[in-house]
Symmetry: C2
Subunit: 332 residues, 2 copies
């Protein structure tokens, strides 16, 4: 049996009792280590697999002692190219595949694989980045398991998609979720803007998931085939707000301007969870500390009870009240 | 400290390790018992509170022995009228408030409180049902805690909002979630249809949460002030599909007709989780067994990888392929 086990959002104690029992009994335990991270960074993961200790091990912070089992860190490369190794014998023994959040939850932008090509033409060198849609690798893994006649069971857990309800906003009032990638000088994709616009037309909130870059190679290392990876990068609420204003300045359709209200959320579900409400302009100045961050752009259908709930998180209450009256009140 | 602890979706082992630790240490433990249910019905809950054993206790199936603590079942009445009792002393001691799913997740339609009035006019007696919006009571409880200067911490868990990803559909491709209430002869609200239409315009999927009626009084018992409750009712996928076709027959905008594809999901996260894919007409005939059920109406933007994943759950593969070609293929 292949078990996909959700780990939840904050630390190693967010696994469910059911999930932990499965991990303890499984023949092999893999940890998917590239679509998200847990928020602990003190514990050290001891790898007993043939793989070297993973550079993300500390960040992932899964304590082998806690789970009582050796955990094999599965990076993107391994899951994509060695799925049969992961699934080996899984028709006879139990294999647990651990995923931060919910196994089928929204992964961050990592699943919009970004391919960077350096093109030299004439005198200039340009980076051309191509983002193409692909299924989350977990779905791939399940499809492959099916082909091999291996049964699968899913142990759900918290995902940012529902945990964002901790903002006090009604989940019924969210439209489609979008993701925000790191802009570069030459690549500033704005398709997210169209989707936010579709939500805004009906007054709906939009959850924006922020880019994570883990285990990315520099162009030089990639070209030379050197498996040396750049330090991980996590987009902040301030960076996201900045990029949204940049797109708005270009598109000018009034979807996410300096006076649009948004909520910045950091480390949802952790002891030091932090929420802050303000205009996008205000949010470009906030520092919400360590990753992971998310952002919610407020819809005009925001209910007064939602306003009451979020108001206490305002960067500046006077500004919040002023902007609320000007753009949101009586629009719901 | 007030702890809002999510219990997850299926049974008592879906609580997180962190949540369980809190339950064990808390001075008092309440279980919110009216917006959803766990899927176990064998274990018996022993109430040691001053309240009588609750009629829902068996259904909720929370084993006192498992959590190692007496649990006070808090029904809607208690949470709404006795929140100060729940919060008593919580500035000095720890109080845990357990919620099925995620504490801030979407509750089912129960939070659209339905008020039934029997009106006698002339010769006929009509039931007039009024549905009015209210905040989820958990938000109310947090707001009240704030007023009393009580700190709150939230322990997230799986919610149907993200666990529905187990269908293989991309959560990025869902629009707003809607809820479906039990129609009566005189009350068939169709506002959900407008929201599905908004999603459909952009090719998005819609998650439909199905009505739960627990601890409802008959009109007679309500009028006489007798606290006798009707047996609980849970809407099935077949009933939901039936009602959607009924609304479509009236509205005729081609949003959810007999050839619209949908996924029925039952007992998500449980060992006997069941998924079935078919046209709404086909789904009116399926029996997915015990509660809880949910339904996803497929958007036309459905990706081919999503199709590959869901096809194996088809009621009839030939019909699925035919309808897919006719209405969905190449629309994404």
């Amino acid at each position: 049996m292949l078990y996909l086990v959700g780990l939840g959002l904050a630390d190693e104690t967010d696994i469910t009792v059911k999930g932990l029992e499965i991990v303890k009994k499984a023949e092999r335990v893999y940890l998917e280590a590239y679509t998200s991270i847990l928020l602990v960074d003190t514990a050290k993961l001891v790898c007993t697999s043939k793989l070297d200790p993973h550079p993300l091990a500390n960040l992932l912070g899964l304590k082998e002692e806690f789970y009582g089992r050796p955990v094999i860190v599965a990076d993107r490369e391994m899951v994509e190219s060695s799925s049969d190794e992961i699934l080996h014998n899984a028709d006879r023994v139990d294999v647990a595949f651990l995923v931060v959040g919910d196994p089928f939850g929204c992964v961050t932008t990592s699943h919009h694989t970004t391919l960077t090509l350096r093109v030299r033409s004439g005198f200039s060198t340009n980076d051309i980045m191509i983002s193409f849609y692909r299924a989350t690798t977990h779905t791939d893994l399940v499809l492959r398991a099916r082909e091999l006649g291996i049964e699968m069971r899913n142990i759900p857990n918290a995902s940012i998609m529902s945990a964002i309800g901790c903002t006090g906003l009604q989940l019924y009032s969210f439209g489609q979720t979008v993701s925000m990638v790191f802009f570069t000088e030459t690549w500033k994709p704005s398709s997210y803007y169209d989707r936010i616009k579709q939500n805004a037309e009906h007054g709906l909130h939009t959850l924006v998931l922020l880019d994570i870059k883990v285990k990315e190679q520099s162009l030089e290392n990639m070209a030379r085939g050197r498996k040396i990876y750049e330090p991980p990068r996590y987009m902040t609420v301030a960076q996201c707000a900045e990029q949204m204003l940049e797109t708005e300045a270009e598109r000018k359709e009034g979807i996410c301007g300096p006076e649009s209200l948004a909520i910045g959320a950091a480390r949802v579900g952790a002891v030091d969870q932090q929420l802050v409400v303000g205009t996008l302009k205000e949010l470009t100045k906030v520092d919400l500390g360590k990753p992971l961050h998310s952002l919610v752009l407020l819809g005009t259908k925001t209910h007064e009870l939602e306003r009451d709930y979020i108001r206490r998180f305002a960067v500046d209450t006077a500004t919040f009240d002023h902007i609320w009256k000007k753009h949101y009140e009586a629009k719901s």
